[in-house]
Subunit: 269 residues, 2 copies
């Protein structure tokens, strides 16, 4: 099982051009990649200024040119592709990611923890975390700011994920280090595909930090891209290593959990 993170610099609103750029990047991948991970909102850019602007480029899952194009790419590369996109629905627009396989959609995840002004434009995710299997690997999707809440990765891990596919548009500096802790505390792989570049619109400016990376179950950084470059970096995933939660002769990360002592918000004063 070989996973690749694809670091891109989308142009805001240029959906066709962004998809063309990804098509060119995927052609540069070496060897047989099983799963490509693209950034959050890779096809539209991120810095929306109104709901109208977002709605204009959002696409419903059952009639999405972007998903059709990803499906073509998945077939062409005989691989799955995890990618963020703006998902139109009757309720509004979700900040979603798809896991697209050669035979079609494997999973759609709607971002549960919205960041910053996403709250003005997007609907918060309304469906549970989900783990799906592809070529024997159990994969869970989360998006960008979900990293800040340990429950996101933990939930996917407890549902059996071997690897977290993590499309991102990171602007804050801490996530690359935090994902090392996330991988390690759950003994699984994480593949964070971040964008790079600057968006400067309507008096707002975001600089995205790149540093797309894949981390192994012991917190080992397998690959990490630079801060300002297109990149496609891959790593081999050892499923048995991710599934064996024994982290020493006496410690098993799952058996050692003491659920009876863990406080949830609903328990606390």
């Amino acid at each position: 099982m070989k996973v690749a993170v694809v670091q891109t610099n989308p142009e805001f609103g240029e959906v066709a051009a962004n998809l063309d750029a990804v098509e060119r990047q995927l052609k540069q991948s070496e060897g047989d990649v099983d799963v490509f991970v693209l950034p959050e909102l890779f096809q539209t850019g991120y810095l929306f200024l109104s709901k109208q602007e977002l709605r204009a480029v959002a696409e419903p899952v059952d009639a999405s040119p972007t998903l059709d194009r990803l499906h073509d790419l998945a077939k062409q590369h005989n691989a799955a592709i995890a990618a963020g996109f703006a998902e139109a629905s009757a309720d509004g627009v979700y900040n979603s990611s798809v896991l697209m396989g050669p035979r079609g959609v494997l999973s759609i995840y709607r971002k549960i923890h919205l960041f910053h002004e996403e709250k003005l434009y997007f609907q918060p995710g309304d469906r549970p975390f989900e783990v799906v299997e592809f070529r024997g690997a159990r994969m869970g999707l989360m998006i960008c700011f979900d990293w800040r809440f340990p429950e996101s990765t933990r939930s996917l891990a407890l549902l059996g994920a071997d690897i977290i596919l993590h499309p991102s548009n990171l602007v804050l500096p801490w996530c690359p280090a935090a994902m090392i802790t996330r991988a390690q505390e759950n003994n699984l792989y994480t593949a964070t595909a971040n964008r790079w570049g600057v968006e400067d619109r309507g008096g707002k400016k975001h600089r995205y930090i790149g540093q797309s990376q894949i981390v192994g179950p012991r917190g080992d950084l397998l690959v990490r891209a630079g801060e300002e470059e297109d990149a496609i970096l891959s790593a081999e995933i050892d499923l048995e290593f991710a599934r064996n939660k024994q982290v020493g002769p006496h410690n098993n990360l799952w058996e050692d959990r003491r659920e009876e002592f863990y406080v949830r918000a609903s328990d606390s004063p």
Copy 2:
């Protein structure tokens, strides 16, 4: 509120000498410290080879020369002291930490996640995480390997902790970085007091990694000791900063939690 981490190198089994060494170290602290944090098992050393050996130096809370001595030091410095000790009880010995104030014991915590061969000699903690107040600051104890489970810090945070007092005997390299994530994901302070030095007994050898540290609510490393030195390092704690879980104009770490989507072991397949 000023907190200090005290990095020591105990001699195995030399309880009186280890307490003397701490007494000398505390005298070197500058300014008025409100809370000192000492390492895990600071008074006995760590590398036990049998239950008998451990039992010989363990002390019950209600008749503990070590706790009496810590009480004297707390009065002398007009401060609280968090410190790991081997706690004798009718069930066996716990790997515990005390929070000792000038007026006596404020909290006793029995380590919930035992590491490695501790499982052969110690009883696993049998009481909930607890937060207690001292001089207006809400303090929670956890010990060493508890760091590996995000639920430890999260539980204390949800119980209202402003600061985590974290006596440790770290041998693995990842905890100092992980505690930055722990501080940040809960927006609170963490004070990890680790030991340094080597224990080499009965064919077993541990090298402890030092690097005692205090981290702020945004994941800012306030102080960190070297890998091989006695040290006493302090930082000012801003309680309002720790209590304000607003981490941007639109994000509040507590309000943004989506408990309804968080999987617990008991939910998972």
